[in-house]
Symmetry: C2
């Protein structure tokens, strides 16, 4: 299905590389004459035409029509980014801008937003950042408020000041005092622990001999379980700079644009795509239809997971047209992921 580097000789690879680079920078199909001048290889247009015919047979490039040059196919881009790309490191000014931009934020959600916006601004495409997984966050405070029927409003604060809330349905109706007691119990027991740790502790508690724990404690544990049980995935992300995508001619088609933006507002496809990158560390790239989603047909997605304390807690990335300057986008995403991970680390960040 996909073509390996070893299936080709150096000359063909060099030619493909030059062709893709040229196409990315100029946006026009690349012909043999141009390649003959552009490439470090000193070959006549005729020779290059032969090589290009081979590359076309392998499905790496194709011609929009007879008398146009060639443009890379998805496979061509894939081989290019996997094996031929020479990544350009960011200059310190840009790193600094990212660093500054992330430092100036006051809390996690602002930082996520800033990361997304910085990437969008720097790359002039769309930036996306998932909210950090719960593993990262530690419980600061929990509180229960009774609602009508046997529903309870749970408010819990994580990290420094992130407030979450959730409605749970309990077996019986609790009084304000009972709820207060439960909250006190949980606060004293689990404060400062990560949500994951809390969850496992609670499960263990439930499995243990239940008679040992008194009834009030059991109620508290049960409510905590309802609150934290869902194995909630990363279920939301911050997307900025979508409008940048409207500038690209390859996405100019109205239907294309509509599908893309519908995918953005429906969120689920984007989430699923980002979830895939969650599994791997480092930069990942989805080119064109590789994503499997119609809406992202002419788009590439460059992602990187970001980690806190060596644990992957989220994903961020850049969405743009397939024809993007990968050698610049990749380091942007890479560095942003690292800086965001570092900035989120409560141990290294200054208060």
């Amino acid at each position: 299905m996909s073509v390996n580097k070893r299936d080709l000789n150096d000359r063909s690879l060099q030619l493909l590389k030059t062709l893709v680079e040229r196409y990315i920078s100029e946006g026009q199909p690349v012909g043999s004459r141009i390649l003959s001048k552009d490439s470090v290889l000193k070959l006549s247009p005729a020779t290059i035409r032969n090589v290009m015919a081979d590359l076309e047979d392998l499905g790496l490039i194709h011609s929009p029509h007879t008398s146009a040059g060639r443009i890379p196919t998805v496979s061509g881009y894939r081989l290019f980014v996997d094996s031929l790309l020479t990544v350009k490191p960011l200059d310190s000014k840009e790193i600094n801008r990212l660093y500054q931009g992330l430092s100036e934020t006051e809390d996690t959600s602002h930082m996520i937003e800033a990361a997304s916006r910085l990437m969008a601004d720097l790359t002039r495409m769309a930036g996306v950042v998932t909210l950090p997984k719960r593993e990262l966050v530690s419980l600061r405070h929990i509180e229960f408020l009774p609602l009508s029927h046997n529903r309870v409003l749970v408010i819990f604060v994580t990290n420094e000041q992130e407030v979450h809330n959730k409605v749970i349905h309990t077996d019986k109706v609790f009084s304000v005092d009972e709820l207060q007691q439960s909250a006190n119990y949980l606060n004293s027991l689990y404060c400062g622990q990560s949500l994951v740790a809390v969850r496992t502790a609670i499960l263990k508690e439930l499995q243990d001999d239940q008679e040992r724990t008194n009834l009030a404690m059991l109620d508290a544990i049960k409510m905590a379980q309802l609150t934290f049980d869902t194995n909630e995935k990363t279920d939301d992300f911050v997307l900025t700079g979508e409008t940048n995508l409207m500038g690209f001619s390859e996405l100019a088609d109205r239907n294309h644009l509509k599908n893309l933006f519908e995918a953005f507002s429906q969120k689920q496809d984007v989430i699923h795509l980002l979830d895939q990158s969650m599994k791997a560390e480092g930069v990942q790239i989805f080119i064109g239809q590789e994503s499997g989603y119609q809406a992202f047909d002419q788009c590439s997605l460059v992602t990187s997971s970001y980690s806190v304390n060596d644990e992957v807690v989220g994903v961020l990335g850049v969405i743009g047209p397939t024809r993007m300057a990968y050698e610049k986008i990749i380091p942007y995403v890479d560095v942003t992921a690292k800086l965001l991970g570092a900035a989120l680390n409560p141990k290294t960040s200054t208060p």
Copy 2:
């Protein structure tokens, strides 16, 4: 600047009405021949041409080029919606759909979202709803958590289960106990009152002889003031169905679309526009450049404020191309506003 109904005779008005209706339904410039057949007036094309020339002189219609028909100008649309429009009442099926859609929601924010989405779906344009003003909401519970330095995280619950939070900067550093005490005091005193009522009560309290209140109480009052002091305007809205706007040929221009969507994501222009409608009751319409914002050039905005207990608490509306079916959109917006107001009223809604 704008043309009044009385500046024209009935025949001209009838003709303008037919022309606008025809243009709205067909999307093509309307010529004298078509009007001659379409209008209830039995006039020859030649006569109609004379009338149209008058209407053009008044700036109500204009011709894209010599051999095209006429299309309404902004003034033409304005006169049409103000004086000529025959609004079509919604059929009961649609009212029911709106009613059902709003009833099935569990809390305020879902209801706002539902209202926006319902309008977008029914009109196939973009729906927008501002969050209700604070006047509407009553305080249910308040809580303080200490942060680093002398900052305090305030969490307060309004209505049934709407959770808000805010960081305030206090004069001195408070202990957990002190904060707890303050919260208790405020909860006992102001629970169940509207935020506005709370705010005025607090201001009064502060102005009163301060020596009478003990120190702990004073701290509580001060913190409450910091929490509720800002005369916060409606500062956010829910927008849905933006992608519907990509389908309209009159907005198809890439730059137009980009400007429009940038205005959406920047929010401030939209907010300002919606704020204007807040002042008046009932349906308001901004046609094309009337809004004053470049981005809304080819768009019209049909809004209505919505009220709870006869008090305006928010605005909702529909954004679409200038060439929209006002006679249908207006009742959609009108009815949605009324239903949303009713649904938000805690006294009439069933638990």
